[in-house]
Symmetry: C2
Subunit: 254 residues, 2 copies
């Protein structure tokens, strides 16, 4: 299939490469910043454009992978005559945002965290699909089938919930790693000391449900240890006291 990729950030880059590797043809990469469009377009053997007037009218898919707030704006600038599907890739943007701007539209939301610095095995990335109608859904399924082994149907409300769950399990989790690193640094200890623990904690829930494998002072109702931890935090990490208490109370009372 012929695809026009709108966007040149993390998601656009990883998605574009996965589409390219799967044998699809990325005909154009659009970015407001031509230099950025060129970098990605070169990698995908595509043409870079920075003007939506120059968009290819015959593509099968127009994939909008820009920041959430810009999706509607980009869609509004697309020519009215498009026959292809217009889809976005965002977790928290309702599919309805595309209704005024396309006949056939949908969403392909990849449930993964992407960084430019680290390649991702796209075949293991779950893809949440939603479409304006059954024929479009079937076309999108066919399109992403070679990309991932885990494709599932998900309406906009479920997708928003999925995104919130992902924020807790990934973005907030990474912040807890950063807190751990801060505490260690303050006490002249290296982050390497908890790296095996972090990996084991994640690997454990690959096979078990998180509640089954909860450990630590809060789940043991070990008030003495929690008290010692709070005293240490009060001395050098005042900003973490409330967070420690809140998380411990939630675990304790579960």
């Amino acid at each position: 299939m012929d695809i026009v990729l709108l966007g040149s950030g993390n998601v656009a880059t990883h998605f574009g490469k996965a589409l390219f590797d799967a044998g699809h043809r990325v005909v154009q990469v659009y970015s407001r910043t031509k230099a950025q469009a060129i970098v990605l377009a070169d990698a995908l053997n595509a043409r870079a454009i920075d003007d939506l007037e120059a968009i290819d009218l015959a593509a099968d898919l127009y994939l909008i992978a820009v920041t959430d707030g810009a999706i509607g704006q980009v869609a509004a600038q697309l020519p009215a005559a498009l026959n292809g599907i217009v889809a976005h890739t965002a977790g928290s943007v309702d599919m309805a945002v595309l209704i005024p701007h396309a006949q056939k539209y949908g969403v392909i939301y990849p449930v993964q965290t992407f960084s430019i610095a680290k390649p991702v095995d796209f075949s293991s990335v779950p893809l949440a699909l939603e479409a304006s109608d059954e024929a479009t859904y079937a076309q999108l399924t066919q399109l992403v089938d070679p990309l991932s082994t885990q494709i599932f149907s998900c309406d906009s409300r479920q997708r928003l919930a999925l995104h919130v769950a992902a924020v807790f399990a990934s973005n907030f989790t990474n912040h807890l790693y950063a807190i751990g690193a801060d505490i260690l640094r303050k006490h002249a200890l290296d982050f390497d000391l908890i790296r095996p623990l972090i990996l084991e904690t994640a690997q454990k829930v690959m096979a078990f449900s998180p509640r089954e494998v909860q450990t630590g002072p809060a789940i043991r109702h070990d008030v003495g240890t929690m008290q010692k931890h709070l005293e240490l935090l009060k001395e050098g990490h005042q900003g973490l006291v409330a967070l420690y208490q809140q998380l411990s109370e939630q675990i304790y009372s579960n």
Copy 2:
């Protein structure tokens, strides 16, 4: 070396097996509950005891791997005549708790989360060592050298900080996984959908520092998306609203 293992829970079990596999001789396993002592003792080719009067007086190491609150009590019941080292394995218990009960004492704290259900590669577990004197420290180092590739010196204060960091990066992280699972369940979605994301988030900080790879709406200052997330939480997950706000504000202001 000859070792008496005091305790039969998660840490005692994993530690005992690692010591056994490293070629040390575990002569006795003590537990107040004889049946539990027997299970572990059988696995380690050791003798099970439930009475500290029966303790072997000639062992090189008495390793106390019981709940934090019971360490002092167990140490107090040890015979005064022991020549071996008395050590505990806890993150948040000061080494000083052993002073009244032993001539040579120390701490071996494994920085890892242990579950009975899942084996752990002990060789990658960092071991924090502390000892009453240099000779004892050298003996402990020799003893654990075949167990782990990462052995380091750590005083009681640092060890407490390390334990607090571990609580954030592991226990609290696992709780965030559980929150993710709850949100998904409520919206008829499977936890499998965020498992690859959880693993990738952990794997990312094996090579990068957490702050370098922070993603999500809060770090992007994407107020619109955070607002949508809060609205969803207010409708069905009221108990998570404050936590979402607190974590987002910390990330946002970093």
